[in-house]
Amino acid sequence: MNATRNRIGTAIGFVLILVWCLLPVVWIISLSFKSAAETGVGSPQFLPKDPTLQNYRDILTDNDFLDALRNSFGIALIATFLSVILATLAAYAIARLEFRGKRAVLSLALAIAMFPVVSLVGPLFDMWRTLHLFNTWPGLIIPYMSFTLPLAIWTLSAFFREIPWEMEQAAQVDGATSWQAFRKVIVPLAAPGVFTAAILTFFFAWNEFVLAISLTSTTRSRTVPAQMSFFVGPDPFNPPYGQLATASVVVTVPIIIIVLLFQRKIVAGLTSGAVKG
């Protein structure tokens, strides 16, 4: 009796979760197939009256959008790569070594994770313009690295503490230095954790908006979220609903692919410490 009720409740919950999570996604997909003529006169129904691929043709030949995609991929990948390298070094030290100031490093990371990014926008803009980093890739990569480091350090140090350290000791007994032990034994064991940290870091950099609109001004370095907020359609006075929805779909595809392939890893990364505790 009770069990049946539970099972029914869970099933209803399952459906609700799917609807809640996917309805807006289905909605932008549907909108992306509506023609400009249809949205121009107002089209409140959910599905397109007359589905068209025109928006996709327009978006995929829109050079500004393609530039933004290139910038987004380039900046996010470089920032992720560098951030994860630095974080791996730091997380190894935190999980593994005894040194002064460890607590201070963790507190700093925590403080930066909570930092109101927008309060840096003014001084960073002022500094970047004098250093000629304004509207460049490094101008975004550097702050993205420092804002993803806390996340990467925390995730990685949680993973690293689960690694069987005896193996490292064995290597050290065999005459390896700390550094060799780190590279030969720990790196392969840590790779899955590093990969998870990289996914979460990539999500951050791919999503970031405040710095992206404040520290860029052209398609030379503007990323997708910023480009979308400035999106200009053929009609200078009306936002191009269909094209915006199409751009949304296009930039969501990589996210969906990553989620489909790595959902286990992402969930583990987000919840690591607690699950294993």
């Binding site: 919950g13 609700l16 001084p123 500094m127 702050p143 791919w206 979220p225």
Partner: protein
């Protein structure tokens, strides 16, 4: 969303580090380890400080000036008058109030929905992958995209909310959601909640799996009702996870910017503290006044973090088992 993912939650049960025989070895070795440790964390620490501490100090300095980028001749030392102007300005308080409302409402709603989702994910025996995948999609989606999706949802000409919910007495075919303060705030909060509930529910799921099944069974045998089990057994045992989730989501919600930028650009009095700061600095080029706002925003975040940790009486670093 974002950095909040750093909330790899607490592991109170675990001592910080495994025992190491290395400790007994000569102090040369300890010194070398200390040096290596510092060298390994140095690049990350330097970079983090470079992009936060240095600009923050510069903001502190700039905040003492009247300084506008496009009228460079009109620059003068003002002392703390920028701060007094801000603290006596109704706009600043209105925006702070908005931000606090958004923070409290979204975190509270997310806590409830997130907990329900976590329960379902915890119990479910079929299609676990499907649930996990679909819940991760809002988590991974770009906030700007979420804002657009919801803006179009509530759009008067192209949205489906007005036609689907027309049976509600206060919604009609020409309800203009972005035409007044509260409906616009509602739309903004819906987008924020949709986007960040998955994060909340995953952290709560982690906490939920720490609650021992034995205790639950024992309670059930003792005749405890579902509600009693929830409030007496489940929630108290999840305190650390709830605390981490609330702290990170609250501070994340306090920084709300993307949704407001896309959906209303601050119209109808829906501006947040972050948006106000952004506008002063980037749109009006008021580097002096904007820097003063930046400093105040930073102090507010510190205050909120302090209040939440005090309220839950948990020391984060200790909770993580770090020395």
């Amino acid at each position: 969303m974002s950095i909040a993912t750093a909330a790899t939650p607490a592991t109170p049960s675990k001592p910080g580090k495994p025992d190491r025989p290395g400790k007994a070895v000569a102090s040369d070795r300890a010194k070398a380890e200390n040096r290596l440790g510092l060298k390994l964390v140095a690049p990350a620490v330097i970079l983090m400080l470079l992009v936060t501490a240095w600009p923050m100090l510069r903001a502190l300095y700039l905040s003492l000036f009247r300084y506008r980028l496009t009228t460079p001749d009109d620059r003068s030392f003002q002392g703390i008058s920028n701060y007094t102007t801000i603290l006596t300005d109704p706009l600043f308080w209105q925006d702070t109030l908005n931000t606090v409302i958004i923070m409290v409402v979204t975190v509270a709603v997310e806590l409830v929905i997130g907990f329900a989702f976590a329960m379902v994910m915890h119990r479910i025996v079929f299609a676990r992958g499907a649930v996990r995948t679909s819940i991760l999609i809002p988590y991974g989606i770009i906030t700007v995209v979420s804002a657009f999706a919801w803006q179009f949802t509530f759009s008067i000409n192209n949205g489906w909310v007005n036609s689907w919910f027309e049976w509600l007495p206060w919604i009609g075919p020409d309800t203009n959601w972005f035409g007044a303060h509260w409906p616009a705030m509602f739309a903004i909060m819906v987008s924020e909640i949709w986007k960040t509930t998955p994060f909340m529910s995953l952290l709560l799921l982690a906490g939920l799996s720490q609650v021992s099944e034995d205790m639950l069974e024992a309670a059930q045998v003792d005749g405890a009702t579902w509600w009693q089990r929830l409030f007496k057994v489940i929630l108290p045992n999840m305190r650390a996870a709830i605390m981490v989730a609330v702290l990170f989501r609250a501070l994340d919600a306090f920084r709300i910017f993307d949704n407001i930028y896309v959906m209303t650009k601050g119209a109808q009095g829906t501006e947040s503290s972050s948006f106000l700061t952004y506008r002063q600095v980037i749109e009006q080029f008021q580097l002096g006044m904007g820097s003063a706002l930046s400093v105040l925003l930073f102090l507010t975040v510190l205050l909120i973090a302090y209040l939440i940790t005090k309220f839950f009486r948990v020391d984060l670093a200790q909770a993580r088992g770090e020395g």
